[in-house]
Subunit: 214 residues, 2 copies
């Protein structure tokens, strides 16, 4: 049975997985790049940018686990772009350029569907107005037996956790206090009852928490 | 110069350092003992209860650091007891029995002062209606050159952090989601700018975070 996985979801000590004030220039709002510093230093990230180098320790092991075995992604509209409400135009094709790093079907949850976007490299964006369970059924169908990744943002991950649809959750606790933004953990009291939780700290100063469904 | 220290302050992943619904039977509200399981297993805790045994690893090293070098404690009224508002009677002498574990002067912050309580073993409870800075001046005077511990609960620690009066903060991140209670981290955006933060996980599954003033 294919699994539903969340990877590399970075959260501040006060529980915010993205900052306040997302815009074209600031995908993570006032958080800037602070939640992802641990990731930028890894070989996985650097090779995505065509660079040679980067760390190969625990941070990289987690970073590299994002791709293998995934056949489709589901993301929230706020991960896809900074626009809200009805699309003003359909020129926006995501933050990732002509060849996005997904290389699979991607289901973008939105109350404002628009035509499917075929990108280079195997990424296809489907825009769907669907519940978590409905979107997961579509993504599973598209994934051809492989796993489905819930790509974020935090509101989307929270909805899938609330619906008890997640098998594997990898959270990166970053020891900063953002103070404001979008919280991951609201409404998830006693989530740990459904998972085995394993923490590990790394030299970059973060703590990786792996939640595996019991 | 004497330091201001916070020790063994356990916080859930969603940032609650105590649960909802404190009562005589439930000092931590609906959290019960879940935030302190890591502590109950240590030799330090077990020897406080006259028992022989317990772990002697990292959890115990942190647990044992609570006492040495401390000359006075400051605590909030909700750590002292479950009563709110004007004292209905003055029979309540704290949760700890006739010989509390503090063995120093303890300043209890309250808007409802009452006479000083001298307990066995060197603990004296002073009830003061004072700002954090005023209470710290009193505690420093009483500590005779030793350090001052801010004993909690979370609202009191947060007030001292807001006033930038804390030199050493030891937080224990427990991988549970309480969902409700009293939050530690609210209003402390960018706290990390004033501290060096060091995390370590332990076999009990918690992550100790040490904040040391820069």
């Amino acid at each position: 049975m294919s699994k539903v996985r969340v990877h590399n979801l970075a959260v501040s000590l006060d529980g915010f997985a993205t900052g306040e004030g997302q815009s074209l220039q600031t995908p993570f709002g006032h958080a800037g790049g602070r939640l992802m510093q641990w990731f930028f230093g890894t070989r996985t990230f650097q090779s995505m940018n065509g660079e040679d180098g980067g760390s190969e320790g625990v941070d990289n092991a987690f970073a590299a686990a994002w791709g293998p075995g995934i056949g489709a992604e589901i993301m929230g509209r706020n991960k896809f772009g900074p626009q809200r409400g009805a699309w003003q135009d359909e020129e926006w094709k995501g933050w990732w350029g002509e060849n996005p790093p997904f290389h699979t079907p991607v289901f973008v949850l939105t109350h404002h569907p628009r035509p499917t976007l075929e990108m280079a490299g195997g990424t296809t964006f489907h825009f769907v107005d669907a519940s978590p369970a409905e979107a997961l059924a579509m993504a599973r169908e598209a994934a051809g037996g492989l796993d489905v990744r819930i790509g974020g943002g935090p509101s989307t991950v929270r909805q899938f956790l609330e619906a008890d649809l997640v098998d594997h959750l990898h959270v990166v606790l970053v020891p900063i206090l953002l103070g404001r933004g979008v919280r991951l953990w609201d409404g998830l009291e006693s989530l740990e009852d459904r998972f085995t939780v394993e923490p590990v700290t790394t030299p970059s100063g973060v703590t990786h928490l792996t939640f595996t469904r019991r």
